[in-house]
Symmetry: C3
Subunit: 331 residues, 3 copies
């Protein structure tokens, strides 16, 4: 694996999940792989699970880790080409990414969308600029439109806990008082499209996600119908995509979309966390036996670890090849 900025970087999902589960059994088996290698984690936004699980994953592999809250610790970045930088940005991403690449062997970036400028968000200008200008592999710790580490943890969780060969998985929208990104929903949909599952998306009319993401996935506007006989119900809010970033409904008006035990039936309940109790989902669900959200969060470590392991292996084979080539020149 050369990098992990989106699901396209996965070429062999089944093997990747199997490898992650092996790592989970024996997390220190590759402790020497990351020796003298440094992960630089750059946060433009808040993070709890991603921060702690990715750091732990890197340490399990023997890496050194630096965590930077970019906005408060460093300089305001410029991402536009050709700008006359006489306003509030102090450093161009071109320099920043090249420079950080000299201090770290892998760069991981979290950068949320604006939710006001759709074109800018969809350009993924932060993560793609890092990818463009960095000379080391880049890992996406949630970008404007994607959260592939979360989706991989979700895939691991479903694979571990499924009692069916082809489980029914439903992604259900749920109400939230604030405008939230589409990243988790997008990546979960993309992941389900790669897995052998019976997949349905459900949300109120008006909350349609990007057609480029949804593709042929089944969309059902009636939540009850969608949830029927589900094995896994993944609940997540997202803000409007067409009227970009708007929250059409107040939580009250769509409060009937909150997931309850009755709605859940016998399905296992999934959520990426953090989750607003009694808005997104009732206490009874989170506190009950069918919730697997804590195990999902646990799998964040192994999702990150398998990705970092693959990247480190690729770096090692690259440096092996370079050595071989340079030794060839000598003869």
């Amino acid at each position: 694996m050369k990098k992990y900025t989106g699901l396209d970087d996965i070429t062999d999902l089944k093997e990747l999940i199997a490898e992650a589960r092996e790592i989970k059994k024996n997390p220190y088996a590759f402790e020497h792989l990351g020796k003298r290698k440094r992960l630089v984690m750059l946060f433009f936004n808040s993070s709890l699970r991603t921060r702690l699980s990715t750091e732990k994953a890197a340490c399990n592999l023997g890496m050194d880790v630096t965590v930077m809250n970019f906005n408060s610790d460093a300089w305001k970045l410029e991402f536009e080409d050709g700008t006359v930088m006489n306003a509030d940005t102090s450093e161009h991403i071109k320099e920043a990414a090249q420079v950080i690449s000299q201090y770290g062997d892998v760069i991981a970036v979290r950068a949320f969308p604006t939710l006001t400028d759709k074109a800018k968000d969809e350009s993924e200008y932060v993560i793609s600029s890092f990818e463009k200008y960095a000379s080391v592999p880049v890992v996406n710790m949630e970008s404007a439109t994607a959260h592939p580490l979360q989706a991989l943890a979700d895939a691991i969780t479903i694979t571990e806990l499924s009692q069916q060969s082809k489980p029914k998985v439903v992604l259900s929208w749920a109400p939230h008082p604030k405008a939230l990104p589409h990243a988790v929903a997008n990546s979960f949909i993309g992941m389900m499209q790669k897995m052998d599952v019976d997949f349905t998306i459900t949300h109120p009319k008006g909350y349609e996600l990007s057609a480029d993401v949804v593709k042929n996935s089944k969309v059902v506007y009636d939540q009850d119908e969608a949830l029927k006989d589900a094995d896994f119900v993944y609940v997540k809010n997202w803000s409007n995509y067409k009227e970009y970033g708007k929250v059409i409904a107040t939580p009250e008006t769509h409060s009937d979309w909150m997931v309850t035990s009755e709605k859940l039936g016998t399905a296992q309940f999934m959520h990426c966390l953090p989750v607003r109790r009694n808005v997104i989902v009732a206490d009874e669900v989170l506190d009950g036996d069918q919730s697997v959200v804590i195990e999902q969060a646990n799998n964040r470590t192994f999702s990150a670890q398998v990705v970092l392991k693959r990247i480190l292996e690729n770096l090692a084979s690259k440096s092996q090849k370079e050595k071989l080539e340079s030794s060839r020149y000598e003869y």
Copy 2:
């Protein structure tokens, strides 16, 4: 030791102090105990000594350490049960504590009181919620009403430096322009009640601490009388407890409570730091030979280290026992 959230977790103070002093002589003797163990330090408030000494202690034991400023790095936590979370809190402590327990082997928490809501502060809702929902040991790095790592460092310091078999120790209130917590005073009093010392508390009328803390300890309102023939004078401001969080007196009106060389006599001067010079205590005292505040701060490392060592030993014996039990099932 299963956890360290309050002085009640100490069952053998003398042995604990003796062990801390051994660690101080040979801080790397247990470097392998913490291998592949991670301490997650969560700060809801500022910290200098606690932050640096606890991290150092953990590293001396070979642990990995993650430091998070929770308020700025992560999500605003909800502590109430049954809340409809449609306001400003994003994540419930139930999920947060369970999740963090999967990324760390020990969780240390600093969370100051509100000083406006006495009942809430005395419930110790932050640290006790972590304790309730975390599946790993919790360490108190100063909570609303207690600072047991500081008190243990103080006990080590007095034991090291005392020239009497039963020294006279005085806790004296001193003026401060702002409302300060009761945590340090509370834990120091609790610790002195466990030690073989002649203990006196002195403060202006109106600054009475909780009766549950003070118990039978001697309280003398006349500072001069209290300080007479003291061996150790521990100085600390605290805000009003009855009129909760109020600063009755401006520093000026109680400025005669500031500790000077004359007041100190031949006693050794103690303070937990940070200390406001020439408000709490005169320069002459802090800059003189009788001040032991720097050594007190040094002992913070060994206070934290002995606690973490005991907790790691308990984790190791637990996992040993589990292994033994699981091997029993096999036969």
Copy 3:
């Protein structure tokens, strides 16, 4: 090396540069030197390169590293002697520096100038107070008037890339919308005065730097004349020194001082970064082959590493000596 607060701490520049270049070839050769030694990095201001490169340098030497954003993580420091601390400062540097010295083996400090109080800035009260009260070596990560780690990286870069035995080096002022410190310019000038280079400073009238810094260095007000036949052009903005901290010119009025390919000629372009594109320097220069700014940033690691290595060696020989002396007492 006992400390590194300014260029005066360098006694053998050529050997130091040569040693840094050796470390660059083999960065892990002294991995055991820093074992069980801790670098405490204290930031009073933003930092990207200094933060990441110094941490990496310390880790390459096997040190443990703690990074603290002092303003947000700890307490507001008092630097004045004899103050009655009843206002907004909570802790005196006397205690802070002594205490931190017990938790770290080396303290590194970044503290920018006020740019409003010249006398205070020139007193270097932050870094010099740490130096005065700390009991461990102090490293300057950019202070009010000096940036000696940057200057050492610059010296390494020029030594590596120079094709002349005595290259012509020009320090050119360039426009910037905000008031910037003099630290980088000061230390670069001091460094050039120690090297065997043909050195010229150029800036608009009114931007004269301190005479104590400039000494006998040649100052030419005509930028074209100064840049003629240059081998290295180091570009940097600084605010007014006489009318302290003022930005006399808007970028527009002095925009003709921006460095372009035409102005650069065949010289190599240097800047400490972050740099404002198309204000300080044209895109064409930064994106062209003559820019060495990324390599300069890379050399920050080896500049910090050679300094930390020398300091660790000095600590080791000191502790060796102490052991020897204490063993002498025994016989």
